[in-house]
Symmetry: C2
Subunit: 132 residues, 2 copies
């Protein structure tokens, strides 16, 4: 189980950067952004990322190998995540839709497998990019 709230120094640094970002961040771009703060090695980034994911503070966008802050608060500690992803500008938006979440959480596999977690990624072109 993850600790309640207190973040360690590196975890806080990494979380701050991800929360401030307008879009998903990649691990090495985080690394380059924090080298002035004394973090020098990928391990330090990946360890912080792992913990932040466990705590539900951030999510990994699997199709992009990138990380976003959780804005949703009801995504049940990363057990039920859904995102919309613009294929043009790379924008990622966390989808917080109770109906969708319930539908998928209740979905049962024909072959009897009980699911503990899911991740859903939608792709398209966002409104902003359509105008261009």
């Amino acid at each position: 189980m993850a600790q309640a709230q207190t973040l360690s120094r590196n975890q806080q640094i990494v979380l701050d950067i991800i929360e401030k970002a307008k879009g998903p961040l990649k691990a090495y771009s985080i690394l380059f952004n924090v080298q002035k703060k004394g973090i020098n090695a990928p391990q330090q980034i990946y360890r912080a990322l792992d913990k932040l994911i466990e705590m539900g503070k951030i999510h990994k966008i699997e199709s992009k190998n990138a990380f976003v802050a959780c804005r949703s608060s009801d995504c049940e500690i990363s057990k039920a995540t859904a995102f919309s992803i613009c294929e043009s500008c790379e924008m990622v938006d966390e989808i917080s839709d109770t109906k969708l979440s319930k539908y998928l959480s209740g979905f049962n596999h024909k072959k009897g497998m009980k699911f503990k977690r899911f991740n859903l990624e939608f792709f398209g072109i966002c409104k902003k990019c359509k105008k261009d």
Copy 2:
């Protein structure tokens, strides 16, 4: 648009290996398995994989960076994919559920984004692993 059916030599070699496999295969493990057939470089594998994905013959399991053959035939050329993944034995099963697929294909984002494609990955422990 992808070509109708004819696969090139390398594409066929790669597809054969993926279809024969019991589970998802990683690009470099495919590479090691085909070196006897004269394929020597990652590029050759990745190029074949890209084309096979376009044609809907295989899918990429994003959370595992691995590839499986399509068994479903109605997954609309990789525009609507869903998988169940065992976190213990790494087994991957393509979910072919019309209701689920329709529900998600019809899902519309509150912010007006129209989706062209989705990928859904469920995680749990499969029946076989539960027995152990």
